[in-house]
Amino acid sequence: MENSEVLIDCRSVWKVFGDRSREAIGAITGRGLGKQEVLREFGCVVGVSDASIQVRRGEIFCIMGLSGSGKSTLIRLLNRLIEPSLGQVKVKGRDIAAMDAATLRETRARHIGMVFQSVALLPQRNVLENAAFGLEVQGVPKDERNRAAEAALAKVGLSDWMLRYPSELSGGMQQRVGLARALTSDPEIILMDEPFSALDPLIRRQLQDEFRQLTKDLGKSAVFITHDLDEAIRIGDRIAIMKDGVIIQTGTAEEIVMNPADQYVADFVAGISRLHLIKAHSVMISAGQWQGAVDGLPRCSPEADIDALIGQITETGSDAIAVEEDGKLVGIVTIRNLLLGVRGDADASAH
């Protein structure tokens, strides 16, 4: 990522639920209790435990976890729908816990859009009115907000449906309206709380691709919550894996698949296809380890994925591919390296 400006900086954030959460927090800071001890001593549930994430400009950051892992709590801490018990959340450099009610509303209205799993469309309003609702509550005049909403609906392909009511739309279309509503206010950051989880697989895949394309085209940053690792890999530039309120690992899909932090992550990534994830630079050996001639080999870039490499090998009939960066030889990928890569072995590169 060239532009590494951090839009959301969330540091060591905790959320403890329960009547004695204050005491529990005291014990966490004072005595360094963990979540098990907190549950035992205070009967408080730790929703999010010591979570730190940084979301950079233009990045899609996925938080993946099963139900009860605290991912929905974590995303609500980012726009203070839930107050953090401990720790700091900065949005565009400003601590949102320190904001007064008016500033917080302003920040939510202008900088952070949100899309919900349940869509949360207002049933008595038509699609256009729903999409314009965010601007309406900001007091934007009707002409102006309708223009913005029409533009946003056009982006999600719903121009012909503006005067329909939510109940007349399919689930996938409703979620497009939810996305359009978030885009209408033109925020830099969009929080996506399992937006596609309730949709059927085909529509879901389609919306995943559209969402990624749209977010990149518009230069938005997004935090995307999902319980589906495939979805996280398709959509996310970086992925954080959560379990029991703790972020176990953060990294690109390739980093997580190649170097799972623990057995839990390893089990998760076991079934994931490596073909598009693993790149030439992860599996190549150094040129010195290659005995054969280099000149006759087909060439590829370090970012070419295994799928493309297999294609090249089968087409050319060569035994290996030379990896080049800026016209300079940086390594060799052999058939053996490719096979190891397909299996996802981290030590596929033999050095």
Binding site: N79, L81, L104, R105, E106, T107, R108, A109, R110, I112, G113, M114, F116, S118, A120, L122, P123, Q124, F133, G134, E136, V137, Q138, S167, R181, S185, L191
Partner: protein, 247 residues
Amino acid sequence: MTVNPGAFLAPVVDWLNANFHGFFAVVTQVIEAVLGAIEGALLVLPPWALIALVAVAAFFAAGLRVAVLIAVAIAFPLGILAARRPRVEAALRPVLDVMQTVPPWVYLIPAVMIFSLGKVPAIIATIVYGIPPMLRLTTLAFRGVPKDLKELGEAIGAKPGTILWKIEFPAATPTLLVGLNQCILLSLAMVVLAGLVGAGGLGAEVTRGLTRMEMGLGLRAGLAIVAIALLLDRLSRGALDRKRKGA
């Protein structure tokens, strides 16, 4: 040991009567003036068969409408408050239970003592009787607003008032209309009682039938009340169905 609440309440009512007579007289005059105006306006209608029915309904419903309006004005905000704060609801619940179970005649006694005979005590008793269903259903309606809609309001930076009027109120409307419907019908049940304290209208007819032991008179007035009840019920239910269809 005997408990004698009257021993405490009677002096209070007497004292109120002695010291605030002027104020209560003004309240009486204001309410009667409003009622008189509504009645007058409604009675101008031409007396054709159907219109006559509506006019008769309206004749007596003028008082009812004022009572329902005041009951709603009290019950609605309290109901919202109770929906937000469980403690308020816990405090209100026994009061509402008492209001609904104490025989309505009992409200009439102090009301008549303070406002003297006529429409005003009847209206006050009707208000007391109409508040509990409206309040309870208001609380229920606002509790039933989907959590994600409220969360949406917060997430887009809406002010609390905006969330209340643009998100919660429309979502709560169907249940609120049920509350209004109940409030109207229960108030109607007070009509007969109102006749006892000289509020006039159909209640007076029923009372007259009862005191003179004239079955026909009482029955006729009773059926008229039923007709009005049906009319009002259908009207408010119609509004409800339209709302549902729109949603």
